[in-house]
Symmetry: D2
Subunit: 164 residues, 4 copies
């Protein structure tokens, strides 16, 4: 029986302190719910913070790495090495039951767009009003907004209960 | 000496009549400039229209196809068969000297975002104000707006002269 | 701390009864050693048998699936959905600390070749003498032969102790 | 109407003088036949030699490059930048109407195997008897042997006439 996998996306080097705090707390709450965290796997930004949060609650973490020599987060249990750069973003999205984006940037935007394209549910935790409006306009049924990690987790529970 | 390749992105089945008209004219103008048109290669929407426009002016056309059995536009000279679905969007972007998006949608949004991530110049021909504002906010130096195919071509000439 | 991942490759629909028996036993032994089994994830052939073997010993199993709608083995815990067909074979290889091939065929041959290209250690459990000779000729230092799953496991222990 | 594309594969840094000579002549003959040469696109080995041969006869050349910063052959007209390393080998194979391998090595072997998997016709120009026997054993209907570039071209003509 496959486990439930939640993809958490966000900036690497350009993540803000608030993004990192949200990602860490989200990792904790996803692990407490018994789900697996999937991220881009590098040792920076949201990828690292969400994985460390999950490990602090004994969760399992998957990192979909862009390169053979990518510097990996210490908090990754299962590194999947794609060696395909940002084309891996599509794998991140397809392998997750639902996606949460902490913050925004070009890479994160590509993942949110690919998720909508794949008809996956996406939760945005971002103060970027333009991002909220744009992605909601692409598909309001798939994209929701959460102000905090706690609210995102409540939304995930509803989404996952609907999928089953 | 590698040829100049312009990537033209846009919706497939959901393209509007205006998108198709812009794409067809853009294909004509790109071919007249002596450049190659690169698209997603299928026989629908912007991909098909831009390729047909280019062929009407004896241009060369590349189609980066998602599947082995994808229905291909009759106007593609060089089909590159990736069999990797939307992960091919990153190849579209990386292989183009600059990108023009005709219209907007989730797939197109992923390509624009990946282009910005790869630090490619992007021109948007779209009436979607939320898309314009969002992508301009991601990187105003890389993203410009064109009202018509003719204006997009003038912008491309400036961009390409700067790159050389 | 990333876990140790062993990639087990082999035919799908065309696996022989001996391949399936070897794969099942290999899955059991890899799980008993505390390692993770990685396979192509579908519900046929060596992929399915090695995953079921691992689950019979409470192991963890990863399946790198070719398509969104691939029929997945019931014994997969962590499905990674690539949607990139046989291009995923490179991900299988890069994500594994070492590779074992049970039997031989065109897909398996591509994975063994990609493993050698990536300088990974490969163990062949196959009676196909031409395959043994050919792959040994490509790189005798990376490719070894095992007559049984038990011998393959002894070889894996030596390989992994050397890598640390 | 899509053009006919012939994929020519072979070693990069480890190509032998005979491989390079065969590849150069093959490029000339493919161009003379009016077909396009597709290769891995880098500025070494068989990729470079076949592309230079084709350009010496005014042929068109496609290079499927592994990386954004790959050093490209000067003889490539159309660079397709995949940024996905050896996973691009599957694109090389799928995009070609038929494949010719000049020489042998791990990367070339992966392409021949992927070609057989995709049910493409493959011609081997190699003195490596183990490679000949192994790949012929995988599928004797798809794999043939040519002693020279001239013979390979005769075989290609037969193969392509059958496909139409």
């Amino acid at each position: 029986m496959p486990k439930t996998i939640i993809g958490v996306m966000g900036a690497g080097e350009h993540a803000t302190p608030l993004d990192l705090q949200n990602a860490y707390e989200l990792g904790q709450r996803i692990a407490e719910a018994g789900w697996i965290v999937l991220s881009g796997g590098r040792n920076v930004g949201v990828m690292d913070a969400v994985s460390r949060g999950a490990k602090s609650r004994d969760g399992l973490t998957i990192g979909i790495l862009p390169r053979i020599n990518s510097a990996m987060s210490d908090a990754i249990d299962i590194p999947i090495i794609t060696d395909m750069g940002n084309a891996r973003n599509n794998i991140n999205v397809l392998s997750s039951h639902a996606i949460v984006a902490c913050g925004m940037g070009a890479g994160t935007a590509s993942e949110v767009a690919l998720a909508i394209k794949a008809r996956k549910r996406v939760i945005l935790i971002t103060e970027d009003l333009q991002a909220r409006e744009f992605f909601r306009s692409l598909n309001p049924n798939l994209v929701s907004i959460a102000e905090t990690a706690a609210i995102a987790l409540e939304q995930l529970k509803v989404i996952l209960s609907t999928q089953k």
